[in-house]
């Protein structure tokens, strides 16, 4: 009884193995591309207008079509299925036999360019699944790129101006968005930019493993990742601090742009670059502000508590601020950043701005500076009482700035412990406390507001200046 049971198992598994062997053999004898080539042959015979073509078609023997591209280090076998790419007779055929759209192949003959150099995909593969490599089990980092991002391939050889002139302006539009949405405030490109985000230099060539794919909807590839990340960064990277302020249709343009940032260069005789191929650094103040500051400081006129950074972002272009803050102070903030906050240091060795550029940027930020100077405070004239300052601070200031002056984390007030505030001129701090910053949440504490005497203010300021030593 028992023996018979095992015999059956043996017989069944033998049968299954046999079936699989048959399937494997069939696949080897009749691969996908042979079927398409047979269809191609049939259609050509049907469409042929003269006998010569018909005769030629009849002589077609099924074979893998392969283009070897020595200088590009590629082997593309795509035309094994896409038989009709160069054949005008196939203009109305269905995919994969259809002729290539447009007249791109006139200037990009397949025997010089191949296919994957623009379209990506796995050139050596001989079936659709592995060649297009869209699914995860193909383990290919660059599946065929969706056509809406295809212009990212053009910049390998062409400049923005030429592409835009011919109507392929997605890439130039994407680059413009990149320049004007403040991306470089956090991301470095060519060594210039902030330090909060990742470097973008070769982001278009980075493999799938580089990106957290867990929450990506649809196929898990870098194209979908970029698009969805521009739509809602925190949907893909929950702890992300990225700020994004773009319209839905602009996400495709930005994705196209970042996908164009690729590693390596095309061989010389392929390149046709005369104009711009990369985003350059402007030197004019407003353009610099847009490139580096606008993502966080927005118009510069609004001071608001930001839940992504968990702190208040100050309004740096408000007249109330500019009236009290002098050039020297603003320059120090821009050059050194504010340690302990997200504000980056922008000097040449950090963010990468030259002295001239920083001056231009400051000239733009301070363009609305009122001509009237604030009334002097004469801080040096006061004999201050630290203990009294501490008492006043703890009742009046700690509500917003935190007991240790830490700011952030649910506190409306700014961080007072950082070197910029600690090293600031006490006269400047005293005037700020006295006059407040109108149209922001910092009220005037002097006689016109809360009612502090000058002595109170001097005491508080002297205490604030010691805060970095407090644990």
């Amino acid at each position: 009884m028992r023996n018979r049971f095992f015999l059956w198992i043996l017989f069944l598994s033998g049968a299954v193995l046999f079936v699989f062997t048959l399937i494997a053999a069939y696949r080897e004898i009749a691969p996908e591309w042979k079927r398409y080539q047979a269809q191609y042959k049939e259609q050509i015979i049907k469409l042929a207008k003269d006998d010569a073509t018909k005769k030629k078609a009849k002589e077609l023997v099924p074979a893998v079509q392969q283009i070897y591209l020595g200088t590009l280090n590629r082997i593309d076998r795509c035309m094994s299925c896409h038989m009709g790419v160069e054949n005008p007779m196939m203009a109305n055929a269905k995919l994969p036999l259809k002729q290539h759209s447009g007249d791109y192949l006139k200037n990009h003959p397949p025997d010089k360019f191949g296919c994957t150099v623009c379209h990506y995909g796995q050139g050596r593969a001989t079936n659709k699944k592995e060649a297009h490599a869209a699914t995860r089990d193909t383990h290919w980092d660059f599946p065929t790129i969706p056509l809406k991002y295809i212009q990212s391939s053009c910049t390998q050889c062409h400049d923005y101006e030429m592409l835009s002139a011919k109507g392929y302006d997605n890439i130039a539009k994407g680059a413009k968005l990149f320049m004007e949405k403040g991306c470089r405030g956090c991301h470095k490109l060519n060594g210039i930019g902030g330090a909060l985000g990742k470097k973008l230099d070769v982001v278009g060539s980075q493999p799938i493993a580089y990106f957290p794919m867990r929450f990506v909807e649809g196929d898990r590839n870098t194209y979908n990742w970029h698009k969805q990340h521009f739509t809602d960064p925190r949907a893909l990277v929950p702890e992300s601090e990225m700020k994004i302020n773009v319209k839905p249709e602009e996400t495709d343009l930005l994705a196209t742009y970042v996908l164009s940032l690729r590693a390596g260069e095309m061989p010389k005789d392929y390149r046709r670059i005369k104009g711009t191929q990369t985003v350059e650094k402007p030197d004019e103040g407003e353009a610099l502000y847009r490139m580096f500051c606008i993502a966080c400081h927005t118009t510069g006129k609004d001071s608001y508590f930001d839940e992504i950074f968990n702190r208040t972002i100050p309004a740096i272009m408000k007249p109330a601020f500019l009236k009290t803050a002098d050039e020297k102070y603003i320059k120090k903030v821009v050059e050194d950043g504010r340690a302990g906050t997200q504000m980056t240091s922008w000097k040449a060795t950090a963010g990468g701005l030259t002295g001239v550029e920083i001056n231009n940027l400051i000239a733009y930020i301070t363009k609305d500076r009122p001509s009237a100077k604030p009334e002097r405070f004469d801080f040096a004239g006061f004999k201050t009482d630290l203990k009294r300052g501490e008492e006043l601070y703890n009742i009046r200031c700690a509500l917003c700035h935190g007991k240790k002056g830490q700011g952030g984390e649910g506190f409306l007030g700014l961080n007072l412990r950082n070197p910029v505030v600690q090293g600031a001129d006490p006269e400047f701090l005293a005037i700020t406390v006295r006059d407040g910053r109108s149209e922001t949440s910092m009220p005037p504490f002097g006689k016109k507001g809360v009612g502090f005497t000058d002595r109170d203010i001097a005491d508080v300021v002297s205490y604030v200046k010691t805060m970095s030593k407090k644990k």
Partner: protein
């Protein structure tokens, strides 16, 4: 000497009269008044009308939505965060608990350790002087909260989802709980200012994000805002199911 006493007593009289505009008596040397002036007035204003020197605060949510945060106006004596039924005045414990906890995401800080119990009680009494309602009405009783064990379970979340649909929570809070329902652009609070429905996916509610706090919000309603009370329209169990679904939207249960 006599003249001095006379001048002093006149000053005292005047100051007492100005302090007595409304409601409960504001005593001189009132510790509540002192605390209020030192710590609260800067946002809530000398008259308790919410028009302090700090003014309107701005908060940008993670989604980029900008929200105006304004200090509570005490003169209408309408309070959002209570333990009493809708339309009722809050009880003293509500004041104390709010002073202790503060209100997350609205810059109302916690004063748990900064003030003594006496000061907190005195402060609550002082806040009551801003509106005549406190003279005319008595606060109701607190609604007891006892969380059933099954809150947050899968079946409870499912039931809550149904109730969310039936009670039209989505009209303001949206199908996905992100606060972008069809009515969300038009609603206004009792002070006539546009109000934004809560985006559950952002995390902590101002009242606190424990299930008990959420239940209280659904039971008492948030008076002065568009958020009604469901004390009468939903049974206790149903409100807890709704809490379960809320916890799911907030990402606190699976």
């Amino acid at each position: 000497m006599k003249v001095k006493i006379f001048v002093l007593s006149i000053i005292l009289l005047i100051s007492q009269q100005t302090g007595n505009a409304f409601g409960a008596e504001a005593k001189k040397n009132d510790p509540g008044k002192k605390v209020y002036e030192e710590r609260c007035q800067i946002c809530h204003g000398a008259k308790g009308d919410g028009k302090g020197l700090v003014g309107v605060m701005k908060r940008s949510e993670k989604t980029g939505r900008m929200i105006n945060v304004e200090a509570r106006d005490f003169t209408l004596a309408v309070f959002r965060f209570r333990s009493t039924s809708t339309g009722c005045l809050p009880v003293n414990e509500d004041f104390i608990s709010l002073i202790n906890k503060g209100i997350p995401r609205s810059f109302m800080p916690s004063h748990k350790d900064q003030l003594s119990m006496e000061e907190k009680k005195a402060l609550a009494e002082y806040i009551k002087t801003f509106s005549t309602r406190w003279k005319e009405e008595e606060p109701c009783k607190s609604i007891p909260v006892k969380k059933p064990r099954w809150v947050g379970s899968r079946s409870s979340v499912e039931k809550g989802k149904k109730i969310y649909k039936e009670m039209k929570c989505w009209e303001c809070h949206g199908d996905d709980g992100k606060g972008k329902g069809p009515k969300s652009d038009t609603i206004k609070d009792d002070w006539g200012k546009p109000i934004v429905p809560f985006d559950f996916t952002t995390g902590a509610t101002k009242m606190g994000d424990a299930p008990e706090n959420v239940y209280t919000a659904y039971t008492t309603g948030l008076d002065g805002t568009g958020m009604p009370s469901y004390e009468d329209s939903l049974k206790e169990d149903e409100r807890w199911h709704l809490v379960s679904y809320t916890l799911k939207l907030m990402g606190k249960v699976k």
